[in-house]
Symmetry: C2
Subunit: 376 residues, 2 copies
Amino acid sequence: MPVRYELLAKSGNARRGRLHTPHGVVETPAFMPVGTAGSVKALTARDLTELGAEMILGNTYHLFLRPGSELVRELGGLHRFTSWEGAMLTDSGGFQVFSLADRRRIREEGVEFQSHLDGKKLFFTPEKVMEIEMALGADVIMAFDECPPALADRAYHEASMARTTRWAERCRAVWREDSGTSLFGIVQGGPWEDLRRRHVEEICALDLPGYALGGYAVGEPPEKMHQGVAFSAPLLPADQPRYLMGVGTLDDLVHGVAAGVDLFDCVLPTRCARNALVFTRAGEGRMNLKNARFARDNRPVDEKCGCYACRTVSRAYLRHLFVARELTAYTLSTQHNLWTYLRLMRDVREAIAADRFAAFAREFFGSRAPAADSGG
Amino acid sequence: MPVRYELLAKSGNARRGRLHTPHGVVETPAFMPVGTAGSVKALTARDLTELGAEMILGNTYHLFLRPGSELVRELGGLHRFTSWEGAMLTDSGGFQVFSLADRRRIREEGVEFQSHLDGKKLFFTPEKVMEIEMALGADVIMAFDECPPALADRAYHEASMARTTRWAERCRAVWREDSGTSLFGIVQGGPWEDLRRRHVEEICALDLPGYALGGYAVGEPPEKMHQGVAFSAPLLPADQPRYLMGVGTLDDLVHGVAAGVDLFDCVLPTRCARNALVFTRAGEGRMNLKNARFARDNRPVDEKCGCYACRTVSRAYLRHLFVARELTAYTLSTQHNLWTYLRLMRDVREAIAADRFAAFAREFFGSRAPAADSGG
């Protein structure tokens, strides 16, 4: 059975809903932690449950290379393999093929590329990617698309978009509903509103269980991205889930929710955490815990935070763990950053349900220190 | 108040007891996980509590170098700093000075050495080490000793032992009971029974709250070590806790308990875990999870184990995490190995309480595959 979106309430364009999946209900708007290679780095599945995550993302490209999608299928699929009992989504591998792989060549048939691990020549077609994603067996699988480079011109975008439509049709043709997966289409079109509108029409004509916005947060200024999402998200079908891929900062999430987005994913909270960069909702915004000024700072990272790290240890202790490269540093900081993200989404959901999202967003942006948020 | 040992039961020489500390009761025989630099690598304090650890060890040498004992004192001591609420012990730094530091020079006054981190020249005296350990504020602190090289001859051992006695007297002189710490003395003497006997007399004459056996597991064959401990442990006062430093394998623990040891510590379960080497009580003994034969092995590491990893994930998943160098690998394997160690100690305590320790040990060694235990 495909996933099903249930709209519970609206507040402006912001949507409070539920995504019903074969692995439980995901309260939306939701943030999906990224578990690239079958684990959210430094955390266990139990940690994620305790943090309140309901859906996580796996990267098809990475899992295909290692341990291999056929091996995962043989061992019972991604849920069983990773012991994650909640909902899962796999991306299409497209973004990674274009950003990670060596020497790739795009043809109508698919993309030829070399593995970033061992240089092995590989060929991804829409059909091949569907086969891989169905073998992995996440609840939601993404169509194979091209995410054009940030600086590509309009002509490139138009041609790429048309090919992404043809690839989505080919994905649609081989995707089997009885695989337990739900196929989402991806809308591209870069910063051009008419292209976005045209691609929404093309992709939504495929009648899929959900749709995503791709090609945002690929290097453009945040305001441009927020404007683009504010334009594109409302074009997507109101009775289906809307997923903004690879976004973003806490601010980006609030902007995305305001535009009517239901699902988000981003490596930012987890990757930054491993580099000692922790986020707070208000006040300092971001802190680099390796900074010497934290050496004797006995306060928690965020006094208002309820995460395990903030309830038990100081900035000084975390700084020490980072300086000494102790593995526990990565666990604690990752827990903190994900808690901050997931807690924000919970508060967002409550604000929408109470139809006070605009006030929530004003208060949220008002409490931020914009300068502190712009860098480490 | 110093720690207090309560003897509950004996089975042969094996002792079932309780160590009463300012941070709770430690059921003995107990294994102390090693938290070298203020964390048991890859675990949180909560993980340790869940695993059933009641006492952990911190390394004075490492903590002195980073973050510094004065900083730890300023921030409330090691318990508050690390958020570990159970009992703690710090070693004396002696073993690390002799095994890690660069260019060390032993004098009667103390040891001159260079930090392995930055080459800085440092000087540890018994008085300095006491000052550091009291600043760190563990429940049990160890006297500063020399642990002679494995191949040192009898003459070297005698001279070193005599100096260690003088150093222990100097530690005794500056240790303050009102510091909240309890000073344990360390017995050396290498493989010579008469030296061990003499040193037990010298060190126990200091009337300290507890005593340790040092200089074992420094390179000698396991049988020699077991024999040595079986000789030395019963020489220690029966009404005080006995600690065998830096030991060992699961087999070593059972041998040590049989000799009448109450406390153990070793980096083996945690360090091996980070190298994909996991232990099981019976059957395979040790497994290197990176081995290709586990690639499609859907069984848990140990079917009889109740740890989180064994309850939820397969050898194939753990192998994948290790091959992909995912941080979660270290957390899961460390939890497994410590669970195995701590569970063994629980079973040992039950066997002693029921006065069936000899039968327990026979069964334990009978179920082991000695060949598999001898290497990776």
